[in-house]
């Protein structure tokens, strides 16, 4: 990728192999390539924002990193702490310390949130973690201003948009990932819930954790200050810079960036919806979104 070489890329702070390293990643869904070669390096202690208009491949990147089997990696490598992530099943990635905060969390009827969390914590940290589970859970529930009754509810079933996102943050807080990918966590939240979620994320920031915050909305980045900003358009990272890039996008949109890229002589594949559409909160399933309700069919 000639273009990427001309950009100034953030690299590991001390020259070590980055915790999460993505190189030349191409991703296809149903034979249709969505991501056309991405390089990204994320270290613990860093917050990377990925900005981009709808349909630019942001969620595809998130699901591909977590190992959703519907997403085919056609080229490139991804390593996590030096290990080949692409050879790992989603559960192995999770146990290794990778976490995806879903944009549309799936509901699982009949599975109680509390029991599920306990299983997940046990899967990640082993039997001994179960001993401190309850105490830690109480602490996190308080932090996220969540009621104890959540634990008896079925996983995401009948949850409001805000409740779902809080539940995602709760899971993240309990699983303490090394790298957390947050896919449009700001969508579907009212101001109060937004604040709680952002506080929750900020409370988890630290030297032992890196974040990839995916959003098309700068509001999120006002609360969760990124160290690096990457603009993803048409399945490619077309511009990267410090936090000021987010401000620039917020003020001027993606137009100037697209022009810049074209001036470099590169083509930009614009999403069908056109430029940034800030207002869309819970969009109807997009053409490549596999998370449509195809599970249950009434007869």
């Amino acid at each position: 990728m000639a273009a990427a070489e001309t950009l100034e890329r953030p690299v590991g702070t001390d020259g070590r192999v980055p915790t999460l390293q993505i190189e030349g990643l191409h991703v296809a869904i149903d034979g249709h390539e969505i991501i056309h070669g991405i390089d990204l390096a994320v270290n613990k202690g860093e917050v990377h924002a990925i900005l981009g208009p709808n349909g630019s491949g942001k969620s595809t990147l998130a699901y591909a990193l977590m190992g959703n089997p519907r997403y085919e990696i056609t080229e490139g490598t991804v390593t996590f702490n030096g290990e080949d992530v692409l050879e790992m099943e989603p559960d192995e990635r999770a146990r290794a310390g990778l976490f995806l905060c879903f944009q549309y969390p799936t509901s699982i009827p009949g599975v109680q949130m509390g029991n599920f969390l306990r299983l997940a914590v046990k899967a990640r940290f082993g039997d001994k973690a179960v001993k401190t589970f309850r105490r830690e859970l109480q602490e996190k529930l308080r932090l996220l201003k969540m009621d104890q009754s959540y634990m008896q509810r079925y996983l995401n079933e009948g949850f409001s948009g805000g409740e779902k996102k809080k539940a995602e943050i709760l899971q993240m807080a309990m699983l303490k990932p090394e790298i957390a990918i947050m896919d449009e966590t700001d969508s579907g939240l009212d101001v109060d819930a937004f604040k709680v979620v952002a506080d929750g994320v900020n409370a988890m920031r630290g030297a032992d954790r890196g974040f990839v915050v995916i959003t098309h909305y700068n509001r999120m980045l006002e609360y969760i200050k990124p160290d690096f900003v990457h603009v993803l358009i048409g399945g490619k990272i077309v511009k990267e810079d410090g936090p000021e890039l987010a401000v620039q996008v917020d003020q001027h949109g993606y137009g100037p960036i697209i022009e810049e890229v074209r001036a470099r002589g590169e083509e930009v594949e614009l999403p069908e919806e056109g430029g940034a559409t800030y207002a869309r909160e819970e969009p109807a399933a997009r053409h490549h979104d596999p998370f449509r309700s195809h599970g249950r069919t009434a007869i």
């Binding site: 977590m66 099943e89 989603p90 559960d91 879903f102 969390p105 009827p109 599975v111 079925y154 899971q171």
Partner: protein
Amino acid sequence: MATTIDIRELPPAVSVDPNRERMLREAEKELPLEYRAGWHDELKPIFTTGKGLDRDIVETISKMKGELEWMTEIRVKAYEHFLERKLPAWGADLAQINFDDIYYYIKPTEAQGKTWEEVPEEIKNTFDKLGIPEAERKFLAGVSAQYESEVVYHSIREDLEKQGVIFTDMDSGLREHPEIVKKYFGKVIPYKDNKLAALNTAVWSGGSFVYVPKGVHVQIPLQAYFRINAKNAGQFERTLIIAEEGSFVHYIEGCTAPIWSEDSLHSAVVELIAMKDATIRYTTVQNWSNNVYNLVTKRAIAYEGATVAWIDGNLGSKVTMKYPSIYLLGKGAKAEIVSAAFANSGQTQDAGGKVWHCAPETTSTITSKSVTKGTGRAEFRGWIKIYKGCRDSVSAMRCDAMLLDKECYSGTTPVIEVDEEKVALGHEATVSKVGEEELFYLMSRGLTEREAITQIVNGFIEPFTKELPMEYAVELNKLIALQMDAAVG
């Protein structure tokens, strides 16, 4: 005018135990790796009628039990009906049952024990392994343990006995309370009902007789456990439960058998009678080995204001055909049938429920959950009839099927016949698979594929599991995990 109601809005039938979750968690720690009840005892029975059945054998069984003439007569008439009656033309394939290759009566021991010490060592060890004495100490009001054709152990708490509660094996019930038995025996399920009810009436042995006097609440459950041991064994227990006005009883049955390559036949008849304002809860957690034909007729009568609930969990067996039914004969009577079935490769679970609304303001709910795996087959048959004049009756039927593999089969045959206009009806059926996105979501939190599927399946049948007492919910979750691990073949 029929309106739709949501079955899920009806209040749960039992309150949730605070220890429940903890127990369920404990259970997850020790999941079984194989069918744990598959051993058999090398026990020489003290008497059998040999393989096959004829009139002499029917009379021999009656004579050995020292029965009164009227019972012998019913047995013989039922036997004659069994000979001329055809197997049902619908449902599971029963053509492979060789009725000449079955032992119809096997007496394992001389006498019934009132303490476990009185039970022969080998049999006692078997029930120990099945956890029955332990369960008895912990949370049961009475226990009956049947081994082959006879109840080998029986107990009931003294305080219940003092209140006039009768809980005994059916043979003793007939001997000690002939007037009650004669009044009700075969009245809910006459021997002419079907071929297997006729067979049971002809050769019945063991089972439970329960009588709860007016106003007595048996707060903790009574349990019967049925164990088949021998090859080619037939088990034909007969159970009769009578709950007098305003009384309450919860009866639980469990069952297992060794793994034999030869088929066994379990064909029970269970009759329940709930008098005015009485409640009978009848819970089954069946876990037969995969060589058992389980063909059971279960039916209840509920009088005015009475409630009958069949909570029916069907795992294991080669073929199960079972449709617990309820006649709502009095105003305001309630019927609840909740069933769960798990059909693995080579198994057929043909189950469901039937309710007849014969009085106004009656309520019924039929809820079925089936899971099929490998080449397993599950068929749900639901039948609701509301007669003319049964005004303000409410009925809801719901069946959900989950298919885990490509080759499994699930079918539903719901029938609702309504002759009265002023009723409310609901019916819903769903078929689902373990969704890719559900699996991915759970796995993305670190659960293995197997753990994730087990969670999804347990969640799917949770509406059934929550109806069970805690200890049985624990057992059921274990059995499901076992089914998830079972090799396809």
